[in-house]
Symmetry: C2
Subunit: 275 residues, 2 copies
């Protein structure tokens, strides 16, 4: 999918919501007996009208070993078959030496066929570039994350006063383009979106941290939105575990619908002439 196509889908749907499919066994209704795929199908059906993307995080599947990995594959297949217009991001935060990253790229982009994969930048260029070789696929590189630990290394400044996450933005922007690369920038760092946009004005940003982690949608939009929207805002727990009872899908639909309504208003105001 190209950047223009993604923007078009965002306008058509009136949403730049990404629903994080991170099912926590402890928060799933007991009746499901830990069936990740059944849980996901209910969440997907309930929230697909409100979302432009789904983002399953591998950790929550690997908890069940090969069985969980299979549930992850089946989740991707279910979305593809029933909601072909949805953008799928595998949240795996991979990154390894060149030949190993090539194996991961093959796994996710060919074996699984997702649209995008999150990648950790610590190991540098040859750990990131293999993901960028796939036409129509997206490499989503961690820049400034939403968790407290993002202060530990990402914000260390170099001899010129530039924080590490800006070095990551600058370097990775040179390895890839705004048409095959996105960056993860946490919503809990609202004002830092200005700094990010100075370096990467055109890239799509994947923004976690709205909802359970306390980030503000308005701040993200104010500082982060660009002419092609340029934002995919993710909410995971705040939607999929809005209820831990049998009404979990209904409550997920309510929460996703609320975000959808806010986003539609924002998009209408900004891009009225295009939609």
């Amino acid at each position: 999918m190209t950047r223009q196509e993604l923007f078009k889908r965002i306008l058509e749907k009136g949403s730049f919501l990404c629903v994080g499919l991170d099912p926590d066994l402890a928060k799933m209704p007991a009746a499901l007996q830990g069936d990740l795929l059944a849980f996901n199908k209910a969440i997907i059906d309930a929230t697909a009208p409100h979302a432009v993307a789904f983002k399953p995080n591998l950790a929550f599947y690997e908890v069940q070993g090969a069985k969980g990995y299979h549930a992850f594959e089946e989740t991707v297949r279910y979305i593809r078959e029933n909601y072909p217009d949805i953008f799928i991001i595998a949240d795996a935060k991979r990154g390894d030496i060149g030949n190993t990253s090539r194996a991961y790229a093959h796994s996710f982009f060919e074996t699984l066929g997702v649209d995008a994969l999150t990648v950790a930048p610590y190991m540098g260029r040859d750990s990131v570039e293999p993901f960028m070789q796939y036409a129509g696929k997206w490499t989503v590189v961690l820049a400034l994350t939403s968790n407290p630990g993002s202060a530990d290394f990402q914000q260390i400044t170099d001899t010129e006063g530039t924080p590490l996450f800006e070095r990551v933005l600058t370097s990775v922007s040179q390895w890839g383009t705004a048409d095959n690369t996105m960056f993860v920038v946490g919503a809990t760092r609202g004002q830092m979106f200005e700094q990010v946009r100075r370096i990467a004005p055109n890239h799509f940003l994947l923004v976690p941290g709205v909802g359970a982690q306390g980030g503000s949608l308005d701040e993200v939009v104010k500082y982060g939105m660009n002419d092609l929207c340029g934002l995919l805002v993710n909410s995971s727990r705040g939607i999929i575990h809005a209820s831990s009872h049998d009404d979990f899908a209904i409550q997920a639909e309510v929460k996703a619908g609320q975000l959808h309504a806010q986003m539609k208003e924002i998009l209408d105001a900004r891009f009225a002439s295009k939609s």
Copy 2:
């Protein structure tokens, strides 16, 4: 396993060799028809007498999806059942926000039961600490990797002239101890082991890059060995793909045996009174 126990096994075996179980489908004999588990069993049986640890890298299993993940699980089980004295490192380079890292820690240390897991530090403290909560298990944090891209971010110096990888060593040493934490330090950076040892004199180091990537065992030992050995030197391709024909296990045994002989000589010279 404690640090003292690991040291004891190293002395008993006369080896600090870790064999990387990274089967590349393109380099496996055609007769195996891509059967990762069959390949691994042959490699494990051939090299276990020479190795103190095995390190499967998840990327090479995920290439086959859930089937590959199952082969990974069965590989771990095969080692456990047949070579209970072997230390098992899952090379997965995981790391995510707290609740997600907790899910990964559960997957690897409880569901799978490996001894150690590699972790990427970019997301900071709350992404690393969940792995350190498991008694007897090890968190192996990337510090200075063996690939060319390690220069891109790991060696950026801060305002005090300290490179990022040293900041990682210092911070992570405070979050964990030398009894539950190791660091990845690439063999291709021989002299930098001196810098590493100034900050982390007691930690075990997992050292990739000897063999296919060109690192020197002598340099690693000269600058990196400590009083409890403190080194696990990994070789993957150089051993398991020494031959791509039907004699792959025989050739793997030869290569592992050569490293074993070198290591035994080094250990005998240094720890003669203890073994």
